[in-house]
Amino acid sequence: MARRSQFHGQQLHAVGVRYRLTGSGSFLTTLRSLDSVETVNLDDITMTSVASREPTIISNFISQRIQLQGRTDEINDRFTISRIAIFIKPISESYPIV
């Protein structure tokens, strides 16, 4: 059974994403709302085969539920991710019926 989220319909503010990431080429990050109604493309990360740092990409994305997408779009780009941290803070309790 999936672990129950600590958030229950609150509005969330994603302020950054941190990766433990190696590879080659550019790594692209997108944050999405439900059904991808709202999306935001974060800064690309230029990957290296070894890395001593875990870079953090700042973001400014607000949605009730947030999904992270990572990808590459060029031939022979490759990535290996061993850790993802998404920095999120609830900013309002719920979304009212308008």
Binding site: A2, S5, F7, G9, Q10, L12, R32, L34, S63, Q64, R65, I66, Q67, L68, Q69, G70, R71, T72, D73, E74, I75, N76, D77, R78, I84, I86, I88
Partner: protein, 306 residues
């Protein structure tokens, strides 16, 4: 004003037509057939320069007028039978440029050279690519053997031309059918927003028209279109011509060329550890190699947070 000449040569002979010395014959009185001519090879002489093929016509080439059709050596284009008498039945003898044709309605030993469609000073350049075709299809009630048409392969079209003084570039590819092709305006500031139609002429002389409403993108500096599926099976150079609305140019202008690569994938998909691209195995008439292509957007998505 620069002058050009273009030489037609025999492209194909079909039906019951046979080829004698400088002439074409119907094999029997009820036979029918077609002799088709085209501009192929290094057929085009521009202002006395060395002959070039139509594919290598400079971008901006436009025919401005003064067109006439002749033959070399000068031999009348005609039809006759046997002893050159009794040609009254030879009334269904067709010839013409491009998709249109005319009938030689006046019976006689010789017919005049077909002139329809080449008197228009704004002749569309793609018509030059189309086949000049003669059909022998309804020659009736003739008892003895027939000798049909024309004594020389050397039709020569002459006229005047200009090179439109705007510049643009087309990435020559190669492309596959369905991919976008872009025409970019050059530094001289050609305005591509006035183009109302693109014609793609394949190596068989067939013309594939893309209307303005089907352009993927059109601005003053960029025009993008998708290679239509009608070009499926084409493997080689495709000539691009464009029809302008009178702002930048009128009539039809040669824009350049690009290459279509016919790829017939094997359908096998092999998983190889550590491989970072897809490999297509070609099965074309010109190459049996492989092409490495990008894996389409490898990606992942997390579950929803919240």
């Amino acid at each position: 004003m620069p002058l050009f000449s273009a030489t037609f040569t025999v492209f194909s002979v079909t039906g019951t037509v046979s080829h004698g010395v400088g002439n074409y014959f119907l094999s029997d009185v009820t036979g029918s057939g077609t002799v088709a001519f085209s501009l192929s090879g290094n057929c085009l002489v521009l202002n006395g320069a060395a002959p070039v093929s139509l594919v290598n016509t400079p971008p901006g080439f436009i025919i401005t007028g003064g067109l006439s059709l002749s033959m070399s050596p000068v031999v009348a284009f005609g039809a006759r039978r046997g002893n050159l008498s009794n040609t009254a039945e030879l009334s269904h003898f067709w010839g013409g440029f491009g998709p249109e044709s005319i009938a030689a309605t006046t019976a006689g030993v010789f017919f005049s050279i077909p002139a329809l469609n080449i008197s228009d000073p704004l002749i569309r350049v793609p018509h030059l690519f189309a086949l000049y075709q003669i059909e022998f299809n309804t020659i009736r009630s003739v008892a003895d053997a027939l000798l049909i048409a024309q004594s020389s392969d050397g039709y020569i079209l002459t006229g005047s031309y200009e090179i439109v003084q705007n510049s643009w570039t087309i990435d020559p590819g190669p492309y596959k059918v369905g991919e976008p092709v872009s025409i970019a305006a050059g530094s001289t500031g050609a305005n591509l927003s006035d183009i109302s139609e693109i014609q793609l002429v394949d190596d068989a002389g067939d013309i594939h028209v893309i209307k303005q409403k089907d352009f993927a993108e059109q601005t003053g500096t960029l025009l993008t279109f998708i290679i239509p599926p009608t070009l499926n099976g084409i493997d080689g150079d495709v000539v691009v011509t464009a029809t302008g609305g009178g702002v930048q140019f009128s009539g039809t202008v040669m824009m350049g060329k690009f290459e279509i690569l016919l790829v017939n994938g094997s359908g096998l998909y092999v998983l190889t550890a550590g491989k970072t691209d897809d490999t297509i195995y070609e099965n074309s008439s010109v190459n049996n190699g492989t092409i490495d292509t990008a894996i389409p957007n490898p990606s992942f998505r997390t579950g929803f947070i919240g």
